[in-house]
Subunit: 130 residues, 2 copies
DNA sequence: TATAGTGCACTAGTGTTATAGTTCACAGGT
DNA sequence: ACCTGTGAACTATAACACTAGTGCACTATA
């Protein structure tokens, strides 16, 4: 997991997004513990308070719950919830891009073609990683 | 033009994006003047400084230039530049959404289907407006 | 010359973000 | 009993982003 300190999106939100997707992807399953505040803070080289802020967001969403002295655990419906919110986020991102393209007077075909090109590129990236 | 004060994206950036797309769409053509600071500020009910900040961004991009005491004018290559950056922005937005979906373990088909659904929805919105 | 409209510069207040430090209560293992 | 590791809470600070308010210099026109 990589954190971009120069990004405009806050660090705590990057962490929350990443953990949420990991839960959606099944990396952490219901009942399982996610990495501790201090462990994750050490790994990402950020302040524990920043990680805690990300956990607060996930707890508010009902994806995880805290057991004092033990750690944070994925709720029973956490996996499905994470999948749902992740999918909604993807949908909203696409919709924003489409609106921007239409407002700039891009023809429909060009918008679709731009998506196909982006898909191929991202897929190529993914291939390299694995 | 509508400004969302509750959005996480800054007002000045919303304005810059909107004007950039308007230039790309040919609403304002090279050599023509774009709405003045105060006129736009009045219309959007924001502070003139906020509009100016948006104009600064557009000027840095080389889309417009200022003539003191007169106004901001679209440069000769402003239209093409605006089209180019707008298209790049759309591409980047799509790529971000695709990466998020893949990280969340969404199957390729589902990502593509989500895009199609978003496209239909946005197209329906546009139909209602016109 | 006077007036109105233009962009520009400076200051100030507010909120957000991230870090740092400290303390506390709880659970588990030795 | 003790120690370690866990989340939670609080304060303080520094830096930055954002918006608003105000005044100034410039241009064109009546």
């Amino acid at each position: 997991m990589a954190i971009d300190l120069n990004s405009s999106v806050p660090v705590y939100q990057q962490i929350a997004d990443h953990v949420r997707r990991a839960i959606a992807a099944g990396v952490y399953r219901p009942g399982e513990m996610i990495p501790s505040l201090r462990a994750l803070a050490l790994e990402l080289k950020v302040n524990p308070n920043t990680v805690q802020r990300a956990f607060e967001a996930l707890e508010r969403e009902g994806l995880v719950y805290a057991r004092k002295g033990l750690g944070m655990f994925v709720t029973t419906h956490g996996s499905k919830s994470a999948q749902s919110t992740s999918q909604t986020a993807v949908y909203e991102t696409f919709a924003r891009g489409i609106r921007a393209g239409m407002e700039a007077n891009m023809p429909d075909r060009q918008i679709r073609q731009t998506f196909r090109r982006a898909f191929e590129d991202v897929e190529a990236e993914a291939r390299v990683k694995s």
